[in-house]
Structures are given as C-alpha cells and as structure tokens.
C-alpha cells in the first residue's frame, strides 16, 4: 500500500520558476527513503506539498489513501497530526523545558493531561532523553535538540516522519546518532522521508534514494548511494 502517492505533480512559483515538474512517485508504508538533490532541486517544495503548506498546480497528492490535492484548510491540522516534521533549525521553544516542548504538541491539539503524562515520558524514552526532561533547549547540544524535535514529531504517533535537513547543523557523530534514531523509528513501522545534502549519511543507509534535479526525478533507486 502506498503511504505517499504523487501523480504527475507540478508546482510553478511566480516568476515562472518551475519548482516541481511532472513528478510521479510512490513511497510504500514502512519505507525509508532519502530525498537528495542540490539547492533549488525542489526538495523543500516537495516537503511543503506533503504537509499541505503548498498546493500543486497540477497532478494528484495522496497520503495514506487521503487525496490531499485540494485539501480544505480546516482539514490540514488533521493531516499534520499524521505527519511528523523535523527541521534543520529544530524549532524548539526556548522558554519551555524538553518535557514542555513535547507536551506542547499534544496540548495544542486538545489531548487530555492524563494522556500527555503517559505519552511524553514514553516518547522521551524512545529518543533517550529522559534524564534531560527538565532542561531548557539552551542547555542541550545540537544533537539533543534535534532529538527533542524528533520526540515532538513522534508524540502524535504519526504514519510518516519527514526530516528536512535534520543533520544540517550537526557534526558527523551527532548526525550518525540522529540517523540511527530515524532507522530505529522506521523499524517500528513509521515511514521515514529523509531530505538531506549529507552524502556520507545517505551512503551509509543503503536504502532507497530519490534524486531530484531541476524539479524532476533524476533517479530513483533502491539500496542506492547519493550520486548525481
């Protein structure tokens, strides 16, 4: 079953910039896919389309049997609860502790306090940050910050985890730790889409790699390496 189905999608920005040009892709449930390409290749646009932050000009986008091509504004939050997103800059709230940052994701979606008390420690355990739960983001290393962001993305038990340049601010050791975490998350059945520039990281995964170039799919190979 396709978790992500893209059918002939195109996205044109003003000024005649073709960000995505007739892309057709299928990502299966439970797959681990690396999406690579140079700057301007269309990776971030693709991520935005998947979380309904942008709309396609042409084509069809289906997430877990839900056609989101013309998704209504009021349905977007429900889509985003099924897709966890992790960014390069972590997007953590500096005035909240690690625990509060993760709990915040549940609070703003209306979860009961009893559920929050149960889910947050469980998620902290997955990312191995139980001992840092009362620390503030400025007391954490880059890798730890990214793990908090991953925990926040995971706490809704999403079907898909999208990581947009998650290791962009990290050294090699921390990057490898984060990658291991993604691989572990993938093992529990969550579809992972890793968007990255990091060649060494992609080469070490030995799983499916999709290369974008000028808004088109340049190559799409299973157990591939990062090559242009």
């Amino acid at each position: 079953m396709s978790m992500i189905h893209l059918e002939n999608i195109s996205k044109l920005y003003s000024g005649d910039v073709m960000a995505l040009d007739d892309i057709t892709l299928d990502i299966e449930s439970g797959e681990f896919v690396s999406l690579v390409g140079m700057s301007g290749a269309g990776k971030t646009t693709l991520v935005k389309i998947l979380i309904a932050a942008e709309r396609v000009d042409k084509g069809k986008v289906v997430i877990s049997d839900w056609d989101i091509t013309k998704i209504h504004r009021s349905d977007i939050p429900f889509l985003r609860r099924q897709i966890g997103v992790v960014f390069q800059d972590y997007k953590l709230l500096e005035k909240k502790t690690v625990y509060e940052n993760i709990a915040f994701a549940l609070q703003v979606c209306g979860s009961a306090p009893s559920l929050i008390k149960k889910l947050v420690p469980d998620t902290l355990h997955i990312v191995n940050l139980n001992d840092k739960k009362n620390n503030y983001p400025n007391e954490l290393s880059g890798g730890e910050k990214q793990r908090v962001a991953i925990a926040r993305a995971l706490v809704h038990a999403p079907k898909i985890l999208i990581a947009d340049e998650p290791t962009g601010n990290l050294d090699m050791i921390n990057s490898q730790e984060i990658l291991d975490l993604f691989l572990n998350i993938n093992k529990i059945g969550i579809t992972v889409l890793l968007v990255t520039h990091n060649k060494d990281l992609v080469d070490s995964i030995k799983k499916r790699v999709i290369v974008l170039e000028n808004g088109k799919v340049y190559s799409d190979k299973t157990k591939s390496k990062y090559s242009l």
């Binding site: 609860r81 979606c109 209306g110």
Partner: protein, 304 residues
C-alpha cells in the same frame, strides 16, 4: 477534550496579556477613555433633555375672559379649543375657583385678604389654562384664539414664551452632541488601532509558538482563539474600570446637579432605570470592537 482546549486557549490569552503588560495597560486606558467619554456624553444629553422637559412643563397659555362674559361662552370656547389637535390639556378656572385659589395662596397675608373683602364682589375673572402637545404648537393655538369669535370676549392673554430659552438649550445640546460624537469617534478609531497593534505585537511575540502549533497540527480555531480572547479580556477589564470611574463621577456630580437644577436632573435615577441597557450595549459594543480589531490583526499577520 473541548474543556481542555478552552482552558488552554484562555491560558494562552492571559499569558499574552501579561507578557505585553504595559502594552495591555495602554490598550485598556484608551478603551476606558472611549467608554468614559461616551458615558459623559450620555449624561450631558440626559441633563439637557431633562432641562428642556422641565422648562416645557412650565409653559402654558392663560386666557382671561371679561368680567361680564357668561360662563356658557367660556365653556363653549373651552370645548372648541379642546378640539384642536395641538392642545394636550385645557382647564377651566371659574371665577369661584379663582378666588378660592387666590385666598389659599395668600392665606397668610392679612392685608390682601382684607382688601379682597373690602372689594365686595369677586374681582377675579374666569379663565382657561391651555397646555400644548409641543412647544411649537403655542403659536398656532394663539393664532386660532386671536382669529376666533371668542377674541372679543377675552380681556387678556398671557403666554410666557420660553421658546428662545428652550432653543438655547437645544442648541447647546446639539453642539455637545456633535463635539461629543467626534471625540467618541476619535477614541473608537484610536482604540481599534491600538487593539489591532497590540494583537499584532502579541502575534509577533508568539511567532515561534504559532509556527510549532501549525506544524504539529493545532487547529486554526486553537491558534486564533487566544487572540480573540485577549481582545475580549481587554474589553472586560476596560469595561469594569470605566464603570468604576463612571460611578465615581456620578457620585461626585449628583449632589451638584440636584442642588443646581432643583432635583429636575436625577442622573442616578436615570442610570438605575436604564443602566442595564446602557452598560450592556457598551459591553457588547466594546467586545465587538476588540474582536473586530483582533480579527483584522489575525487575518493580516497570522496565516493559518
């Protein structure tokens, strides 16, 4: 789930209020000024209307018939004048009633009473006392009497024309209203701009939280509601403060107005009769105003 959401929305709204405390103070102050100026204008209006009513109530036309005119003619004149649509009330004061009233009025004045006795027969004449429906109708009634057949029986007509005084009050009232409405409008516009700006700054202060909320799937209702509630919070606090100021003003002014206007202007009585309606409308108006300003700010600066 809804209760948790409501609780969190209120919590975020109150947080927004406290995080920009001085901005909140300025916002509330301007709304309070707008409300107090509206209430002050209202008092002036009520006072002017009471003064006009009081003066109007004192105006009437008295027609004194000649001494030899038969009572039946006076009654006939009364019945005829009574048919005029402009006439609200007409009283016939017979010679006997006139003398009784006179005696009653001067019961403590021995010289006048003795002079009256010395005169022998009743020197007073029959009269009609007319009240019109409107202040402008008196001229019409006078015209009718002057041109009627009853004019030949009339010895004297007495009409204290307070029209110019009433016009003066009307004019002052109009000026107060015009100036007041302009002042109120200015405050209302300033209030909208300030609330708009405050909400805009609050949104800016929360931009990171808002971004996270959007990415983790918070509903648009949840993201936008705290700003509406913050706006409503401003209106509630402003409203309560303005009520306190208003009652303080009323309590200070009331003894003066009662004394100066001989009780004809009772602001407290007016407020106790109409307070619920006035303050209810003001609260709803203020809440709508702040929600309106918040809505513009949210629409402009909060893309959800």
């Amino acid at each position: 789930m809804f209760l948790f959401t409501l609780y969190r929305i209120l919590k975020f709204a109150i947080q927004g209020f406290w995080r920009n405390f001085w901005l909140s103070v300025v916002t509330i102050s301007v709304i309070v000024l707008a409300l107090v100026s509206i209430n002050f204008l209202l008092i002036l209006n009520v006072s002017a209307n009471s003064a006009v009513e009081y003066v109007q109530d004192k105006i009437d036309i008295s027609i004194y018939f000649k001494n030899d005119v038969d009572e039946s003619i006076i009654i006939e004149a009364k019945n005829r004048i009574e048919t005029l649509s402009q006439v609200e009330k007409i009283d016939y004061i017979s010679k006997d009633r006139a003398i009784d009233d006179f005696r009653q009025k001067h019961k403590n004045d021995r010289f006048i009473l003795e002079a009256l006795e010395a005169a022998g027969e009743n020197p007073l004449v029959g009269s009609l006392k007319i009240k019109s429906r409107n202040i402008d109708d008196y001229q019409m009634i006078m015209y009718f009497i002057n041109s009627s057949k009853y004019d030949q029986y009339i010895y004297d007509k007495n009409f204290d024309d307070h029209k110019s005084f009433i016009n003066q009050i009307h004019n002052i009232s109009k000026i107060i209203n015009t100036v007041g409405i302009i002042v109120v409008l200015i405050f209302v516009i300033i209030s909208i701009l300030i609330v708009f700006n405050t909400i805009r700054l609050t949104i800016y202060a929360h931009k990171d939280e808002i971004a996270v909320m959007k990415y983790v799937g918070a509903s648009n209702f949840f993201i936008t509601s705290p700003y509406f509630f913050e706006g409503i919070l401003y209106s509630i606090i402003s409203f309560v403060i303005s009520i306190f100021i208003f009652y303080f003003l009323i309590n200070s002014i009331q003894p003066i107005t009662i004394k100066y206007f001989q009780g004809m202007i009772d602001i407290k009585a007016f407020i106790s009769d109409n307070g619920l309606y006035i303050f209810g409308s003001e609260f709803i108006g203020t809440a709508l105003l702040t929600v309106f300003a918040s809505a513009i700010a949210i629409r402009r600066y909060l893309r959800v």
